[in-house]
Symmetry: C2
Subunit: 128 residues, 2 copies
Amino acid sequence: MPEKKRYRIGDLVQEFDATPRTLRYYEELGLLNPERRGNQRYYSERDRVRLRLILRGRRLGFSLEEIAKMLSLYDQDKTGKTQIREVLKMGEKKLQEIEAQIEELKALKAEIEERAAELRKLLEEQDA
Amino acid sequence: MPEKKRYRIGDLVQEFDATPRTLRYYEELGLLNPERRGNQRYYSERDRVRLRLILRGRRLGFSLEEIAKMLSLYDQDKTGKTQIREVLKMGEKKLQEIEAQIEELKALKAEIEERAAELRKLLEEQDA
DNA sequence: CTGGCACTTGACGTTTACGTAAAGGTGATA
DNA sequence: TATCACCTTTACGTAAACGTCAAGTGCCAG
């Protein structure tokens, strides 16, 4: 039996520097499924993992809808092989997008570096 | 004299797969400064370069406000050395953010690849 | 001169991703 | 038992980044 640790909303809020509203919103969208004791939310380790991926995705500019698709890789209710294969296919697509995004970031980086070099040169010339 | 080519809004819209509204909005924010002949817009090569960077930034999840800062690297009205140094400093900061983002993308990529591998294993087991 | 197409300026609408009260429930602790 | 921090739902508000009309302008081909 792996530990069945539960987290309260404030715990995750602190750990990930988020807000309660955000977590509740993600739940509303079905991205998180905390257990309820009374009317209080108790998040599982699985929720925590998903939250980490969600927030990472957000920082990288993905929409919650896109992130939802990525998370379907982690859904356990995959009944048949067809289902799994579909999810895998989508995952491959997302991976390609991510790779493309890395390339674009490198291009942006190069562009900015080049421009910075020009500016530094301009600075030196002004010293004359 | 470098060529002084001008582009109409439709040209850039086509080239970059954007909409006129988007270009006008960027102008409203001061990100683009097309010349006016009558009330028609004529974009310079410089506008075109800036537009490319803006759209690239958007695809990568940067806000227009952040992009505006990056574009300040390309503003030519930098009067003094202090100005230039400031802009350069900001550029360095942005570069660091970009590098961090690349690292996070790699992490996300690894995460998804790992999960995909698990799913493929699950598929094979079902073949038994 | 007349289509017709590309362009213009408002101005209100929309989506996403939450923020922000208001009003109240819960549970460990003094 | 009262207090206090932490939690809850409901609901309206908001910022960013455009979308989407409506109504008019500029200009070239026929």
